[in-house]
């Protein structure tokens, strides 16, 4: 054990090029996939590249929340259902407030934070396992959004049947749709810019503030963190609340982009994509280690895979197979690489004796 930690220490203090490559391997993975995309689509336009940001916005913001939770050593399986739940009711609020965009956004953020608070209190204060808690709330949020969609008066859900639809007759409908689908000069989608802003804020929070240090400390050694004075229950609850608010933001972007939310399919399997993006981004699932910046690249890598499949005109049902295989490959390289090197290095040392 002592030997292992010493090796880890050495590996981390190594400022070599190899060390840097290892620490930013998520960039390499993204670039590799991106090059494949460039090749199969026969050269890339700026618009196509900017589209990656558009399609990464929702999952990227969710993955940031997931990354935060994973850094404390927990997990949130409810993010996809929570997205559908918050998106559905935000549509209702939009329709009910005569299309008030600020109120809709505020509601989405608050409902998301509230859902996160439910998860967070059960995990952080009651100390139930996060896997179980969020498994349960995953079922609850999905079911509630589907149930309410059937039982609310149909004018509240924009006269849709089994879909929450924003009422297109409201004056601000165009404005919110424009927000969700518009582009800035230069082609950057507005939602993509929001993703970048979220990433910048959270990278700053995690690397350069006391809050960030506490998140890492709790995930790295909760006992030591507690004895250093950190309120571990508070921190564990807080990351769930923040993740919930981020999902609220993602839900707002979702309805702005789609003008509707289907409670059965919105955010389906998003918990898995978010976790995959977090892992691909190099954050340790046991907590305490990894960079939030990696999450951006992890999420974008998956968006590009979608686009590769479309460009190759493959059946989209093969999508998850490829995503799964890539996840296994990347982690395989990360885990087997040092082991192979160790074995190779050892046999070499043995031969020289």
């Amino acid at each position: 054990m002592a030997v292992k930690t010493m090796e880890e220490g050495k590996a981390r203090s190594g400022g070599s090029l190899l060390g840097a490559l290892k620490r930013y391997s998520f960039v390499l993975v993204f670039l590799a996939i991106y090059i494949v995309y460039a090749v199969v689509s026969g050269g890339l336009t700026v618009g196509a590249t900017m589209n990656i940001f558009r399609h990464s916005a929702v999952i990227g913001i969710i993955a940031v929340g997931m990354g935060l939770i994973c850094l404390t050593g927990d997990i949130d399986l409810s993010v996809g259902s929570m997205l559908a739940f918050v998106a559905g009711f935000s549509v209702v609020v939009f329709n009910q407030t005569q299309g008030s965009i600020p109120l809709t956004l505020l509601f989405a953020l608050c409902l998301g934070a509230l859902c996160g608070l439910l998860n967070g209190v059960l995990v952080g204060v009651v100390e139930m396992p996060s896997f179980i808690v969020t498994l349960a709330t995953m079922l609850i949020f999905r079911s509630l959004s589907q149930y309410e969609c059937q039982h609310l008066p149909s004018e509240l859900i924009g006269n849709g049947s089994s879909v929450y639809r924003m009422s297109s007759t409201l004056p601000s409908y165009q404005a919110i749709y424009q927000f969700g689908n518009g582009r800035l000069p230069g082609g950057m989608p507005i939602v993509g810019l929001i993703l970048l802003l979220v990433i910048i804020v959270f990278v700053y929070l995690l690397t350069s503030t006391k809050f960030g240090k506490k998140v890492y400390a709790v995930g790295s050694n909760a006992r030591a963190a507690r004895l250093a004075g950190i309120s571990v229950p508070l921190m564990r609850t807080l990351v769930f609340v923040i993740a919930g608010a981020l999902i609220g933001l993602a839900a707002f972007l979702w309805i702005a982009m789609n003008a509707s939310s289907d409670p059965a399919t919105t955010g389906k399997s998003y918990e898995m994509y978010a976790i995959a993006a977090v892992v691909l981004g190099g954050i340790s699932m046991s907590g305490g280690r990894g960079k939030l910046l990696g999450v951006l690249f992890g999420a974008m890598s998956y968006t590009v895979i979608d686009k590769v499949i479309i460009a190759l005109k493959m059946d989209s049902l093969i999508n998850d197979t490829i995503k799964g295989v890539i996840l296994i490959l990347v982690i395989l390289i990360q885990i087997m690489g040092p082991k192979l090197k160790d074995r190779f290095g050892k046999s070499k040392a043995g031969a020289s004796e």
């Binding site: 010493m6 350069s208 006391k210 890492y216 050694n221 006992r223 030591a224 004895l227």
Partner: protein, 496 residues
């Protein structure tokens, strides 16, 4: 006849030599004491023997075969078994299942032959004189029974050499006697033992021969019959013992910490008054309540009665944050579990607690933190390459200094140090204690909980001896000595 021969073993960890040409020879059918202070290199030597570490140079022979740098499995198969301090048993399995694990007996249909295993385990226990029900859940066994179970398991697997690493720490006198009688019986049958212990009376009662290590070097080996406890002790500690003494009477300030009838989980009715600049030692046997007192004072556990006040302000208790704001700091025991944040750098580890107190202003000023780091690095003599090095790249003593810096950085006035020299080499120990005296000189107040009385003698102005949760005696500095403290901590005076 020689069973085990380790010759001229060298081992370094990241350039720091921990073993410098150590030799160890164990004869067949003898109990061999391996002596040395914490950090002398005993554990490293044993880890090399059992295959956990590879040695840099040297040879190991066992029963005539060369087993230098063999794997853990090969060493086990050769007949060497390590009975660890932290026992290697599966608590959720039954006693006999532990014995047969990996070598289960099956009937001709391939299913487990439980009846046969239980009866064989029963026979084994009877033969050894061990009174354990083969079908008992290991979790329900007493520590002494677990130890005997592990010895039984090793013998079942034909071990010829057993390493007993401080086997008596968790046992009472009767259980120790029982263990020793079993060891003596096995010795008669030709089994050999390496016995690692700090308790001289036990060693002189049980062992045939000894090897002494100090600071990674071989010092002496010979027959127990030819030496005395006093000689062995002075060989173990070397000359450094005399040089250490830097305690001087100091001017003490006003009262800083006051406990009245303070009670909690594991201790009761403690009255204590500590003045600014004073260094107080708390000691007693394992489980005497002194560590619990510290944890309660720091807010880890809730007090059940009495009053604790810092500079006149009462503590409500049960909140670490409250204690920290009042200027109390605690360096917990078991550094690896309770202090080290393994994924963080030295700087981050050091600043963590200060950041908790100043959490209201969110951003971190790296330049100011590095400045503080450099200040404490000089003050405490931390040997570290850079503030960004990983905490695990430092030696135990230097890690501990980083954690002392963690608390000094919060401007704490009362330092609770729970077993601060645990797992630290001899040189660094003396340094830590010099630091504590230096800090006391500068007006900090220190409470030290340790079982190592010679160390307390170096630093403590007063020593409070605990027995079963209560303070039985307060000894002023010049009355602290091993014998007196032992008398009170075992409560021998009351029973005599």
């Amino acid at each position: 006849m020689e069973l085990l021969g380790m010759r001229d073993i060298h081992k370094s960890f990241s350039g720091v030599p921990v073993l410098r040409g150590v030799s160890l020879s164990v004869q067949e059918g003898e109990v061999h004491a391996l002596l040395g202070e914490n950090g002398a290199g005993k554990s490293t030597l044993m880890n090399i023997l059992t295959g956990a570490y590879a040695c840099d140079s040297g040879t190991i022979t066992f029963a005539g075969n060369d087993i230098t740098n063999a794997s853990i499995k090969q060493v086990e198969d050769a007949g060497i078994a390590f009975v660890h301090q932290e026992l290697n048993l599966f608590n959720d399995l039954l006693a006999y299942e532990n014995i047969f694990l990996g070598q289960e007996l099956t009937n001709r249909f391939g299913s487990l032959d439980k009846g046969k295993m239980i009866s064989q385990a029963h026979d084994l226990f009877t033969r050894l004189g061990v009174d354990i029900d083969p079908c008992a859940l290991v979790d329900d066994l007493k520590p002494s029974e677990k130890q005997l179970l592990e010895i039984s398991r090793a013998l079942f697997r034909n071990a010829r050499l057993l390493i007993l690493d401080e086997p008596t720490t968790a046992l009472n006198t009767e259980e120790v006697e029982h263990l020793f009688s079993i060891v003596r019986g096995l010795r008669k049958g030709g089994t050999s033992f390496i016995f690692i212990s700090h308790k001289m009376p036990e060693i002189f009662e049980l062992c045939d021969s000894y090897t002494i290590l100090r600071n990674g070097s071989f010092i002496k080996s010979g027959r127990i019959a030819d030496t005395t406890p006093a000689e062995a002790t002075s060989l173990m500690v070397g000359a450094s013992m005399e040089q250490r003494g830097s305690w001087q009477p100091r001017e003490l300030g006003d009262e800083v910490l006051r406990l009245e009838g303070y009670s909690g989980n594991g201790f009761r009715n403690v009255d204590l008054s500590v003045r600014r600049g004073e260094v107080i030692g708390l000691t007693g046997l394992k489980g005497c309540g002194s560590s619990e007192l510290m944890q309660t004072l720091f807010g880890v556990m809730r007090p059940t009665g009495g009053v604790a006040s810092i500079s006149g302000t009462k503590l409500h208790g049960g909140s670490i944050h409250e204690a920290m704001r009042a200027g109390v700091a605690m360096l917990p025991a078991d550094r690896k579990e309770n202090s080290v944040v393994p994924d963080m750098s030295l700087l981050e580890n050091m600043c963590l607690s200060e950041q908790v107190l100043s959490a209201k202003s969110l951003p971190i000023s790296r330049s100011r933190e590095v400045e503080r780091f450099d200040h404490y690095k000089r003050l405490l003599g931390i040997k570290a390459p850079s503030p960004d090095a990983n905490i695990n790249s430092l030696s135990g003593g230097n890690q501990q200094k980083v954690f002392i810096a963690r608390w000094l950085n919060t401007d704490a006035s009362v330092l609770l140090l729970d077993n601060p020299t645990q797992g630290i080499d001899v040189g660094a120990k003396a340094e830590i204690y010099r630091l504590i005296l230096g800090l006391a000189e500068a007006g900090k107040t220190g409470l030290i909980n340790t079982l190592e009385i010679p160390e307390l003698k170096e630093v403590a102005d007063t020593c409070y001896v605990f027995y079963e949760g209560e303070v039985v005696k307060a000894l002023p500095h010049d009355q602290i000595d091993e014998r007196t403290v032992m008398l009170y901590s075992t409560n021998s005076l009351a029973t005599a």
